[in-house]
Symmetry: C2
Subunit: 333 residues, 2 copies
Amino acid sequence: MKKLINNPEDVVPDALQGMQAAHGDVLRVMIDPHYLCRADAPVQGKVALVSGGGSGHEPMHGGFVGPGMLDAACPGEVFTSPTPDQMLEATKAVDGGAGVLHIVKNYTGDVLNFEMAADLAREENIEVEAVVIDDDVAVQDSLYTAGRRGVGATVLAEKVCGGAAEEKRSLKEVADLCRKVNGNGRSMGMALTSCIVPAAGAPTFDLGEDEMEIGIGIHGEPGRERISLAPAREVVERLAGPIVEDLSLQQGDNVLAFVNSMGGTPLIELYIVFNELKKLLSGRGVNIARNLIGPYITSLEMAGCSITLLKLDDELTRLWDAPVSTPGLTWGA
Amino acid sequence: MKKLINNPEDVVPDALQGMQAAHGDVLRVMIDPHYLCRADAPVQGKVALVSGGGSGHEPMHGGFVGPGMLDAACPGEVFTSPTPDQMLEATKAVDGGAGVLHIVKNYTGDVLNFEMAADLAREENIEVEAVVIDDDVAVQDSLYTAGRRGVGATVLAEKVCGGAAEEKRSLKEVADLCRKVNGNGRSMGMALTSCIVPAAGAPTFDLGEDEMEIGIGIHGEPGRERISLAPAREVVERLAGPIVEDLSLQQGDNVLAFVNSMGGTPLIELYIVFNELKKLLSGRGVNIARNLIGPYITSLEMAGCSITLLKLDDELTRLWDAPVSTPGLTWGA
């Protein structure tokens, strides 16, 4: 296992200490239980956004804590759901009296634990809504999931809802926007290589030297099919085709196109993928009005990429463009 | 070779088309010869900054074109110097009457070609200064270099000089600042794996499953030593120790600490490295006043990292903080 780590069991606490050391001016890393929150939390009168999930997907979610995006993030062990007490403490810490939205990726552990945390928070008179993101069109059910998995649309939902919360919109309105992003967003990913979970020390799955997996999950869950290595053009067709179909994209539609590295794929390849995606969508009359290209929801060092398309309207576009200032995403601020 | 590409010979043009497709609102990708420049170039009365080098180090340099950083970048083939005609055409396109600074990484081909381009530009009555960056403390001479290699400090020089140029400072002043960053900045990198140059199709070097290379170059040039896999703590000592010594850092000094992914190393590991770096520097009384953590000067998909330290004063800090708006680096704008 070739990784820049100390002990496998210290990966998450060491990385969180690094986050605190690097970004202590804008966020606080809390210990026992672990969560990250805005340094200025709670922001009075603003709906607070809390997300979380297993570590290993950085910068998601901790790197998205800050003005214009999340108020708090709960990191679990690598590829392991955080616990209800993390979520409860984060919820209490960021509640500014206007309620708290839980943005939850659809994995069984995450969903159950966030439900439990919401119940406990409500007992303490905090208003909580939860929206489950399930945007992955690859498979209907998966290794850790009933229904579709939650992947790239989560990044977009956190940004859009963060913009709406800064405008002091109500909890119901922010939750409705989150459901809208989930309804308008679809994703699919692929892997060229497996990643290695530090505590396991061996690849999560085996993939031949001439093979790739289409429809992979962000924890290495099986995808739709294993095929021989193919050019970027064909990879993009296999990922974007089902997304375009599922979203029923029509000529004249505007989309946000998000090309994401799974962690080990460098930017030069993402731009080649983006170029093919632009050609594919142009051929169908679909306009890429906004884009995001880089490693934002990763799977440790897995090589591969995912594509997320979000159908835009004026409201979503305006909230996407709103200022954001987090370690992982910054503009206009 | 597992990469998201079409044909190996199309990697650079395909990626540049992707850059144009993604960022055409802020930059222009010119063909024959290839260069990228700010969409609003030339900016009258502002010193223009031009850099360039082999592709494969993205986002450097093309991703740093925009207000507050570069006016143009010249991409060569992967790990191959761009040609003098690219540099000449870029220089002519961005000259706004206040002169042009060439920021050149110290590799023999880059240095010779930028010298030739500067001579040709001067014949066309464009004032040109060039600063060669040679911040890599790993080895004295290298495979493609007489003297030290130019690596991470280049990113910092492009940002600091970009800030100064926006303030309409003179060519001499901006060039002096570039020399100051080079004088105050030192780097060292390491690799866990080799990368594969697409046209070669095979790893640039062989590294055993239990080995890493300390002092690697960004094209896979040999480093100082090959050692057995070691914890992040020890890797940081081996990289940062020689930097601290070379810069003669003293108790009370302020530095910018830049922890860079070579391309295949994910963010979670960079934060572990940053945490160790912070501990090492704190132990010597050196304060990390600013930081940059992520993949900014990469070597395709190579796994590994580099550390750059820049000794700060008030002027460098202020220019680092100045607004920047490029595909690869954005804040305050």
